[in-house]
């Protein structure tokens, strides 16, 4: 299982802040995004194209090529705007 977290606009549009997802074997961030986009609706709208999406694995910034392993916390969010 992995834990998914969504923030800000993504959290609001998807209507979910976090969820658990089974993971059979290590996969890339971009494969995970394709899987999420496959759910259609807002999921497809957000995850169809990886541009403008930031990802963190276990609270460290990652890229679409990063590998996700069982037990990881994967956060997907729009570009940050603090400060």
């Amino acid at each position: 299982m992995i834990k998914l977290c969504f923030f800000a606009r993504f959290r609001e549009k998807l209507g979910v802040a976090e969820e658990s997802l089974p993971l059979e074997q290590p996969t890339t961030v971009s494969a995970l995004m394709s899987q999420l986009a496959g759910r259609g609706g807002a999921w497809q709208e957000i995850f169809d194209c990886p541009r403008g999406i930031m990802v963190a694995i276990n609270q460290d910034m990652a890229t679409v090529d990063s590998l996700i392993h069982d037990g990881d916390e994967v956060a997907l969010f729009p570009p940050v705007t603090g400060g």
């Binding site: 923030f7 963190a56 969010f77 570009p79 940050v80 705007t81």
Partner: protein
């Protein structure tokens, strides 16, 4: 060194706290405020969301990077979360060093990376309606200059 809080902060007290070290010759501080104007109208307040498990870790990494580049004596970062009215303080970065250029550069570096790498998101309220703030390409571009020097 790092605080994430809903409460306001006292920039002057934080600067004074960094002046305790007798080697300190320079303290540079940055304070960011809620401006009352956005592209879509008059902003009455903002709401700041963050990623609690990651926020402090990411700021710690940014401060460590600054510490590798400049001889910093002290650093203080405070970022507020939750609802903030127009005119309120959002963020403070203060850096002390023996010399002024190290303090100026390290403070600017920390702010630039905080703006583009720390997991905070702003929502602006205009006439009671919330608008998520779009990231600015100028913020991403600001990181470039630190790669070149």
């Amino acid at each position: 060194m790092i605080s994430i809080q809903t409460a306001d902060f006292d920039t002057g007290a934080e600067i004074r706290a960094l002046q305790g070290n007798s080697q300190t010759g320079a303290v540079v501080s940055f304070t960011g405020l809620v401006r009352d104007m956005a592209s879509h109208g008059a902003v009455t307040a903002i709401e700041l969301e963050h990623y609690p498990a990651m926020t402090e870790k990411s700021l710690q990494a940014i401060i460590e990077q600054a510490g590798k580049r400049w001889p910093i004596l002290g650093v203080r970062v405070i970022h507020r979360i939750g609802y903030l009215a127009a005119g309120e303080q959002i963020v403070m970065v203060a850096v002390s060093s023996a010399h002024r250029h190290a303090a100026f550069d390290a403070a600017a570096f920390i702010m630039d990376f905080l703006k583009s790498r720390a997991p905070f998101w702003k929502k602006e309220y205009v006439d009671g309606e919330g608008f998520w703030v779009e990231s600015k390409s100028s913020d991403e571009a600001a990181l470039e200059r630190w790669n070149q020097t």
